[in-house]
């Protein structure tokens, strides 16, 4: 009697479809089907993709301002942060929401291959403001030349004139927009083959 009840069948189909749809959504996220992945860390809570600034001795504890925005002051440079990703990307745009003194130079870099001790750094270009925060951007092309071990890029924030006697570099958010070749009908099966059987 239950099985003949159309409403029951419909509910059962929905119940089974939901986790299946979610699973395929997770697959799409894992393979970055659209070719673009954006990850953001606003210091209010830990995220699975962008890790905390390191080492802790060079930064102040995370604080909140009167508006509730979380931020962290960098006292000594350089500091690093790891970015864990499902796969390697072709290029990346790093955006940082920050405050600093006008004369203070500010760079972002990525740890290069193990043999190169110096990270590849790029000056942060101011592209806008949001309230009291400046928005800076740095772009990295050809990410393949950077170290991607353990599904991780190691980024560096560098402000060479920083020390405990000068105004700190304060950061409230870090966002990465990463791009790689998107899946199309033409490359879908060759890339799937390469994923399972490629080197």
């Amino acid at each position: 009697k239950m099985q003949n009840f159309f409403g029951y069948r419909f509910i059962r189909v929905i119940l089974i479809a939901i986790p299946v749809v979610v699973f395929f959504w997770l697959l799409a996220k894992e393979f970055v089907l659209t070719g673009t992945m954006t990850v953001r860390y606003d210091f209010s809570r830990d995220t699975p993709f962008i890790k905390r600034l390191w080492p802790p001795g060079r930064v102040d504890p995370i604080e909140r301002d009167a508006t509730g925005d979380a931020f962290q002051r960098i006292r000594i440079d350089p500091v690093t942060f790891d970015v864990l990703l499902p796969r390697a990307f072709r290029d990346a745009t790093v955006r940082v929401w920050y405050q600093k003194s006008e004369s203070q130079p500010f760079f972002v870099g990525i740890q290069q291959t193990r043999a190169a001790w110096k990270p590849g750094i790029v000056p942060v270009r101011k592209v806008g403001t949001m309230g009291k925060w400046h928005i800076g951007e740095a772009r990295f092309d050809v990410l393949s030349r950077f170290e991607f071990t353990g599904n991780k890029y190691q980024f560096v924030i560098s402000a060479p004139t920083l020390n405990r006697q000068v105004e700190p570099l304060t950061v409230t958010a870090i966002e990465l927009e990463l791009t790689r070749e998107s899946f199309t009908f033409g490359n879908f099966f060759p890339r799937l083959w390469h994923f399972f059987f490629g080197r």
Binding site: F5, I11, L15, P19, L26, E30, P48, F49
Partner: protein
Amino acid sequence: MAFFLRTIVRDIFIVGLTTFVVYFVADFAKPGFVTNYVNLNALLLFVLVFGIVTVLLYDSGDSN
């Protein structure tokens, strides 16, 4: 109506438990595949709640 509700609750529990096991195995095989986006602890709590409700609503007459 009560029978219908008991059946739906039981089905939700079964689908939820199966989903949790599949997602857990997938995340074990590829760390972060599920947990980067889905809170498995919340899913487990959900399954636990519906499991308890299923047991509480169980009527031996349903299986006849």
